[in-house]
């Protein structure tokens, strides 16, 4: 379902944007997006680019089938590729060639987190290449401060304009190291659009960045309008005294993520796409 139906919060945000927009071009783009979502609900991938396959897994320390998770997700990837179908996107960067089934060296990639409990939470995250191509890591000088951090995010948005299929969602990770910053940034894309960071200082940065980027007028697909981003989500880690790493992860409007929880008795509960209603 990750490929065919958006989580409710994203769909709501797109509908609200359509109502809010006064720019005629922006209206045509958002109307097409809403119509596309409707058609995709019948079981068609909403976008042909279903990404390189990655999963976020929260594994309960007492989940009894830990040893089988990786293999199961690889098989699930092959099955989804054949049956939905998904576009085969796994290309070998050294030898060349597409594996044809969305699996291969280190792919699907699994982000592991161990949590207390006896169940397993799996999030499938189908993110296209266009938005991934404008994601960046900036290794800033600490002296530029938080203004420098915000400027990096805003400058990046004004550089790629509509290339990442706006309206976008932007995840920002501050601190840690180069790898940690971009990892935190990408994880922010899993947050529901209607939440706020619990730390008011961080929540304020989220709001400022959203207002600034929407003031650019880039609009849906970069063709003009008031809705350039649906949300900006920020989180941080402690940083080295000499480093200010900033990861910026960009998500297209087709923010396809779907989460299921598998219990220790292998019952499945879908969190983002409850069966039998919206």
């Amino acid at each position: 379902m990750a490929a065919t139906k958006l989580p409710a919060d994203v769909e709501e945000a797109l509908k609200a944007a359509y109502k809010r927009e006064t720019n005629e071009t922006a209206k045509t783009q958002l109307a097409a997006i809403l119509k596309n979502i409707e058609i995709a609900e019948t079981g068609i991938p909403m976008c042909q680019d279903t990404g390189i396959v990655i999963y976020y897994v929260k594994a309960g320390d007492k989940f009894p089938f830990m040893g089988e998770v990786k293999d199961a997700l690889t098989r699930a990837t092959k099955k989804a590729t054949a049956e939905i179908p998904l576009r085969p996107n796994a290309v070998n960067p050294i030898a060349g060639g597409n594996s044809g089934d969305n699996t291969g060296e280190k792919i699907p990639w699994i982000n592991w987190e161990i949590v207390p409990g006896d169940s397993l939470e799996v999030t499938a995250f189908a993110k296209g290449g266009g938005s991934e191509n404008v994601s960046i890591v900036g290794m800033l000088k600490p002296g530029v401060g938080l203004v420098g951090v915000k400027k990096l995010v805003v400058d990046n948005a004004m550089k790629y304009m509509g290339e990442a299929c706006a309206p976008n969602i932007i995840g920002v990770g501050i601190g840690g190291g180069a790898d940690i910053a971009i990892k935190i940034a990408k994880q922010q894309l899993l947050r529901p659009l209607n939440d706020k960071h619990p730390d008011p200082a961080v929540a304020k940065i989220e709001q400022e960045l959203m207002d600034a980027i929407n003031a650019t007028g880039i609009g849906p697909m970069g063709l003009g309008g008031a809705t350039t981003v649906l949300g900006v989500k920020v989180d941080y880690a402690m940083r080295h005294p000499a480093s200010l790493p900033v990861g910026v992860a960009v998500q297209c409007w087709a923010a396809r993520r779907s989460t299921a929880v598998i219990s220790k008795t292998l019952d499945v509960k879908y969190l983002t796409h409850p069966i039998g209603g919206k």
Binding site: A32, I44, Q48, R87, M158, M161, E208, G217, A254
Partner: protein, 202 residues
């Protein structure tokens, strides 16, 4: 902003009527997919004096790598949202001059070389909303041929009959106007106002 419903083959006169901001729906048998490699091959064939397997004059060329599947032995387009068009900037002006396609469809717009060729040849560039793969597939009714299969599913030349494929927004017209250039200018003009919101300076 006017709305047009055009059927292929499309004449130069029809295309010259279109302006940036107009919305177009396309029907007809001359709708082809082409990305980097199909453009390259078509140009190489022209150089060798060979004829490609389709008639490009009056056609609609769509920058897309579709997902297709076979149903009862017949190919069907499942999802086909546009790919980023700037990659084709390397080939499009020469392609337009050689083959006289009338509508190029993609996302993100193209550069000055293509804009000049659109004006010279009498063609337009239309943006189809990125990510709308399911909506596009609905308008791409029938696959009549799957040419240049050796290039692989996304890069091949898919020969399609379209029915009311759209909405396509004209973002580069045959009169030298580009909405993409206009947008670059208008966003640059707002930079100070944007920076003020985050306390940054140039």
């Amino acid at each position: 902003m006017a709305e047009y419903h055009l059927t292929t083959p499309i004449s130069e006169a029809d295309v010259r009527k279109l302006n940036v901001g107009d919305v177009v729906y396309v029907s007809g048998e001359h709708v082809y997919t082409a990305r980097d490699e199909a453009h390259q091959r078509a140009l190489e064939m022209a150089k060798r004096g060979e004829k490609p397997p389709v008639e490009f004059e009056g056609s609609v060329v769509y920058h897309v790598g579709p997902v297709a599947m076979q149903k009862n032995g017949k190919w069907q387009i499942v999802a086909a949202g546009p790919t980023t068009s700037t990659r084709m900037e390397l080939f499009e002006d020469e392609f337009l001059r050689k083959y006289k396609a009338r509508i190029i469809i993609g996302k993100g717009g193209m550069g000055p070389r293509t804009l000049a060729a659109l004006k010279e040849v009498g063609a337009v560039y239309c943006s189809f909303t990125g990510g709308c793969g399911a909506l596009a597939a609905k308008g791409l009714k029938e696959v009549r041929a799957y040419e240049w299969q050796d290039l692989g599913m996304p890069e091949a030349l898919w020969v399609i009959t379209a029915h009311e494929f759209g909405p396509l927004l004209v973002t580069m017209d045959s009169h030298g106007r580009s909405l993409h250039d206009d947008m670059n200018k208008s966003v640059a003009a707002r930079k100070a106002q944007v920076y003020a919101k985050i306390g940054a300076k140039e």
